[in-house]
């Protein structure tokens, strides 16, 4: 990756670009009376792959456009590498965008498209540098073509090359893979990740695809209705969601409402539909009163009533409503009295499968459960997750 190592006339000389953190402070954006982004605080460390994940309409694009300078915030401030950029216009910011529809210039060759930003900043050898960037995305042989003569996937790479060739402090990608088919999308996910690691730029990647966010990003911010619900490493978000929205939007969760009835010191016990369900205190946002307890479907163990422990916590008895065998695993829906339907993913170990109508017992490790505020809607984010998946 020679193109970044030799950077004598690096674009953003004053902001030591590779070490430039982005900081948003209390950013709010209103469109008329509509609150698109609500008092957003965000810090994106340099050289990280940061994903902004959320359902359509939650304000991801608006946030990205404010960072790019294509939209000005109604209030709040932002800085890159400690330097305030609030109110500056797009062409003054050390930031480049890969647009959702690519926005390639149709009247220019692929090479001229890529060289555009370099020429504007009067960088020497812009043609050679553009050529190098095109080679990085494996399109060196198509540099004389017009964008209209390229496939969607190729246009996407040109858009990427056109942005990274400028070695911006921050590269913004707005659903860059949204228009590609599934196979190409998976391939480009790997490629984007490789390029990011190779050149070490900060990537801010907007997507509504949770799988994409989790496989690519170091840090994921889950956004909902103009606010960040939770931010962290993908594993952290998945294993310990802090809101019902995150629990349902990022993977699936069984959320059960109940009342905390016992404090065991390091854990609390929640009573729900006559069952005693334990959750560790450090994994619960609430320690008394009403609470939701959440368990991921794959964390549930399903057994026959004869094999189940006699009594205690973390035991749910129910009847299989529905089962679907997918090969690697079987997905069950189990009706539990007093709680309702509970989803279970059971990995295929060659065990005997349960059929609808069978009585089963569900159990799990206390360490896998998480507790949420009792006021939350158990279905929050579930519909959005479904919409995002289609």
């Amino acid at each position: 990756m020679t193109m970044v190592q030799t950077k004598p006339e690096s674009p953003n000389t004053d902001a030591d670009d590779q070490g430039a953190d982005l900081r948003l402070a209390a950013i709010t954006k209103r469109f008329g009376g509509f609150l698109a982004v609500d008092n957003l605080d965000l810090e994106i460390p340099a050289a990280s792959f940061f994903a902004l994940l959320g359902p359509s309409g939650c304000g991801k694009t608006t946030t990205l456009r404010m960072i790019a300078g294509l939209e000005q915030p109604t209030s709040g401030s932002m800085s890159i590498g400690g330097k305030d950029i609030t109110g500056t216009s797009a062409h003054e910011r050390p930031v480049n965008t890969v647009f959702q529809n690519y926005a390639l210039f149709p009247h220019m060759s692929v090479l001229d498209n890529v060289a555009f930003g370099l020429k504007r900043r009067k960088i020497r050898d812009h043609q050679a540098k553009a050529k190098q960037a095109l080679e990085l995305v494996e399109l060196g042989h198509l540099s004389a073509r017009r964008p209209a003569q390229l496939s969607g996937g190729q246009q996407q790479r040109v858009a990427l090359a056109r942005a990274i060739v400028n070695e911006p402090a921050l590269l913004l990608l707005d659903e860059p893979l949204g228009a590609l088919d599934m196979k190409l999308r998976r391939q480009m996910q790997g490629e984007l990740k490789r390029i990011q690691t190779d050149i070490g730029l900060t990537f801010v990647h907007v997507t509504h695809d949770q799988e994409e966010a989790m496989t690519m990003a170091d840090t994921v911010a889950v956004m909902n209705q103009g606010q960040v619900e939770q931010l962290g490493a993908p594993r952290e978000l998945y294993e310990l969601p802090r809101t019902a929205f995150v629990a349902n939007f990022l993977g699936k969760s069984n959320l059960v409402a109940g009342e905390i009835i016992e404090d065991r010191g390091d854990a609390v016990v929640i009573s729900a539909g006559g069952n005693r369900l334990a959750v560790r205190k450090d994994r619960s946002t609430t320690h008394q009163g009403k609470a939701l307890i959440g368990i991921r479907p794959e964390k549930l163990r399903m057994m026959w009533p004869a094999d189940a422990p006699a009594d205690g916590s973390n035991i749910l008895r129910g009847r299989v409503l529905d089962s679907s065998f997918t090969g690697v695993s079987t997905e069950y829906l189990v009706e539990v009295a007093g709680i309702g339907p509970v989803g279970v993913f059971s990995q295929n170990h060659g065990q005997q499968l349960a059929a609808p109508g069978d009585d089963v017992v569900l159990t799990w490790d206390t360490a896998h459960a998480f507790g949420l505020d009792g006021d939350e809607d158990t279905q929050a984010g579930a519909r959005e997750a479904e919409a995002a998946a289609t």
Partner: protein, 312 residues
């Protein structure tokens, strides 16, 4: 690989496997196409091709000795061309100069108007509609009436002259009517919609995300305009400038109503007077023909220099 390509090659039928009925259907479609262009073809033949030949023939007629006014006989008198060019080349050059200035002025006025309506006001349908109607509104009154109105506006007793004199931008005895300035103003005004509308139609389709991409790639708004917006709107600009320049160079109303009879005469006026007053049909025809060829020549030069593939 063969699995992937198999259905595709089945879809694209090679010529030899096409059935006879498909080929017949193709031929029928071809015939319908020709039938549809027939009216236009006949129209062009009757009202363009034949008149041009008639014009060419007339331009070579000669006046037999002792003939009455307006009496000519067919001939091949090429000296008609030398005669009219020798007498009227200044008017020809002036026509093109006036038309050129008017075209540039109309572009300078029309492009920003088109840009405002098509790009800046995008999405505000009502305002766009009102402004478009205002651009087209002058067409609702007659060309001559509008030009006559300009004569009033620019008249010596009119408000414009009064203000300019008061501001000392015009000498005390200075005037606007009966000057080259007035003629060019009239031309600019009268052909402005022809400039504005094609540019509007083009800019209306401009993807504004490209303008944002320009800004994102370190181009300020002027550079973005120069490198993105303007090149993309060139087809509209070319169409607009042609639709302005061509009629403006042959126009005689503006020069007749707003000019004087000495240094603002345009070639259209000369042709008009050769035809209807002097009754010199060959001379008028020769001038018309020269004007036509000159415009054609200039247009080809222009389009080859700036044009897009769409036009040539």
């Amino acid at each position: 690989m063969s699995l992937l390509t198999a259905p595709r090659s089945a879809k694209a039928k090679p010529e030899e496997t096409r059935s006879a009925s498909e080929i017949r259907a193709d031929k029928r479609r071809g015939r319908v196409g020709y039938l549809l262009i027939l009216p236009g073809f006949i129209f062009m033949l009757l009202f363009f091709v034949l008149p041009v030949f008639s014009l060419l023939a007339t331009s070579l007629y000669t006046k037999p000795p002792g003939a009455d006014i307006g009496q000519f006989v067919p001939a091949l008198q090429f000296s008609n061309y030398a005669a009219v060019l020798g007498s009227y080349w200044p008017e020809l050059v002036r026509s093109f100069a006036f038309a050129l200035i008017a075209t540039v002025a109309a572009l300078a006025i029309g492009y920003p108007m088109a840009y405002l309506v098509a790009v800046r006001l995008r999405g505000r349908k009502l305002l766009q509609g009102i402004l478009l109607v205002l651009i087209i509104a002058p067409f609702f009154t007659s060309f001559i009436l509008r030009t006559q109105a300009w004569k009033q506006i620019l008249a010596d007793e009119g408000p414009v002259v009064a203000v300019l004199r008061a501001m000392a931008l015009l000498p005390e005895d200075g005037r606007l009517t009966a000057t080259a300035f007035a003629v060019v103003c009239g031309l600019t005004y009268n052909f402005l919609p022809f400039m504005t509308l094609p540019i509007y139609a083009n800019l209306e389709r401009l993807d504004t995300r490209l303008i944002e991409a320009g800004g994102d790639l370190y181009a300020n708004s002027f550079t973005t305009f120069r490198t993105v917006t303007l090149p993309l709107s060139m087809p509209g600009v070319i169409a607009g400038t042609l639709l302005t320049f061509i009629p403006a160079s042959g126009d005689y109303i503006n020069a007749a109503l707003l000019g004087n009879n000495q240094n603002t005469t345009m070639i259209g006026q000369v042709i008009d007077s050769r035809f209807f007053r002097v009754v010199d049909y060959p001379g008028a025809s020769a001038l018309s023909f020269v004007l036509m060829l000159a415009i054609l020549f200039l247009v080809i030069l222009y389009v080859r220099r700036f044009g897009t593939k769409e036009l040539l």
